[in-house]
Assembly symmetry: C2
Homo-oligomer: 389 residues x 2
Amino acid sequence: MKRIAILGSTGSIGTQALALAARHPERFRVVALAARENLDLLAEQVRTFRPRLVSVATADGAAALRSRLDGAGAEVVWGEAGILQVATDPDADLVLSAVVGAAGLLPTFAAVRAGKVVALANKEALVTAGELITAEAARRSARLLPVDSEHSAIFQCLERGGGACLRSVILTGSGGPFRTRPKEALPAATPHEALRHPRWNMGKKISIDSATLMNKGLEVIEARWLFGLPVEAIRVLIHPESIVHSLVEYVDGSLLAQLSITDMGLPILYALTYPERLPNHFPTLDLAAVARLTFEEVDHDRFPCLGYAYAAARAGGTGPVVLNAANEVAVGLFLQEAIPFTAIPRLIAEALDRHPVRPVRSVEEVLAADAEVRAALGARYGCAPAARS
Amino acid sequence: MKRIAILGSTGSIGTQALALAARHPERFRVVALAARENLDLLAEQVRTFRPRLVSVATADGAAALRSRLDGAGAEVVWGEAGILQVATDPDADLVLSAVVGAAGLLPTFAAVRAGKVVALANKEALVTAGELITAEAARRSARLLPVDSEHSAIFQCLERGGGACLRSVILTGSGGPFRTRPKEALPAATPHEALRHPRWNMGKKISIDSATLMNKGLEVIEARWLFGLPVEAIRVLIHPESIVHSLVEYVDGSLLAQLSITDMGLPILYALTYPERLPNHFPTLDLAAVARLTFEEVDHDRFPCLGYAYAAARAGGTGPVVLNAANEVAVGLFLQEAIPFTAIPRLIAEALDRHPVRPVRSVEEVLAADAEVRAALGARYGCAPAARS
């Protein structure tokens, strides 16, 4: 029986994880949940899974939840202290970190510091503070398990082949909803179009990141820290069918790839059951029915965000923090229809130009750089979504 | 430094293995060679690699080789005793079994009995005597390493655990030179056409087996023994590009695949260097340049041999021995243009019908059944290529 805490339980990954926990009650016990403000869903989750600890964003939210849960027996906490309490719950063996954006950094770091097995769906924590988190994980013997389908694929391939003989990893990406759209038509792309991802059913932020290919950029930085690789050894390949979830290449020229149907439930389940695998209810992949798998290079001219991510990763220090904060702000502005689609990379490039890179030695310094970028962009564009929960 | 003996050194696999040994002299020392009758090439190999022991098919061949090697310092032996001496050479750590056909059975069994690491390119040994060989390997702690690209792929995907969660393995096949040829055009297919394999450059016997898909059938039986699987858990998928060399499917619906350029040098090198991988001179696989990988089901109507192999595997005992002997005879007759292409499956089906299955308890019983089938077919068709070297 694995005892699980979920950060971001009402989001896309969180709800899928809970659905899997419900299907395998002999395997999983949900001990703690954290969400922001979807109190309806959270209350339902608490009634279904009976966690002993629940956290929400605000004191008002906590009061409202308490009154709804009258007698359900869960301790309701709130704010940053609340989510940190969930992340470090002594009852939990495994913490699923599925908060969206840089807000996931502090609770993820806390879970690592508490020596938990951390199933990591929040990529921004590693993007902004990968060196700090992986160093802390090594110190505390905390295991980081990838939930992203690409990193799960690489992790599964590496489990077997032997990391010592690794030459490179190849992250695949569907190319997003605008893969075949001509460059001159991109400025008119709407949030509605950008949210209609051709393969994956995901949250809003990651859907926009997929449309700009920033998602691959964040994944490159994430892979760097998860697998301890130089960014030069991490490549990106467009694979529209999203069946091959990523590959690893060995020094002898042999590649291993992980394939499955396109459903986030599979990498979530693998992270939850690792090192075991569980028979499940998902349909099987039928390669003869799929018939063809295609691959193409990234078009960096139409999708400059990926190149910015490589540049930020090479710069190190606050580079990826600036990249990520600017991206979060830009995605927020685009979703509010305050800027056009093609302004997302432009705004990120500007931010990278305006913020000289400096080293980061603590999570506090990461958060300070993050806040600085948001404040500067807020001053220029009149809006800056909060990073902290 | 690995000390290598090669059975079948002048064949396709043998010469490629020696070329790799020549490229990596710091890794490999060739201590013994066995070939049949290509004395020119064998003499050259002896002069290049300086093995201490060499075997040929006949006493005359041995005398001729001795006179050519005047002073080269290799002991020259011959016949079945000769090849067995090479297979069990106390100086060898690894024996590459690359003899074609059932002739590989006795020396492969001898190498296993001698506790060698056996790199297995001869699939007929496992096809005809898989149970005996794998039981003996377990007793003697002899390791069997696959050289076939498909089995090497599966072996690489299975490496380091995961076997317990296995659901199936999927052997890929190019479909051979007649993949798209209509059924009514198959009787007129010539040996010349059948030998022009679209993807792999291989020996004659295996090229014809690829054209009939019997090669996949033999591989199914080989996989059964190499990986200890019921035949129901072994599937075949046509993949014309020959880039994905095989796949394994886990109980959770996740698949791992091994990919590389289409060159037998890679699986040969992996078997020789296992458990390490060696940087090498082969070109890298560029998936974006390949652009597409396609998959389709086997057409059992046009290619009945695969179905016969499954049936023989299910029957067990002498079933696969009869299948294999009849196939070797039929391929020989086809290469001599004594029978048409479509007579190959017909002759195999007849043989399976005429020879009731009985259990096999020893290699001698396997060889007796093999000889019986060849004699019966020889009486009917006036020709039966020898099984033993």
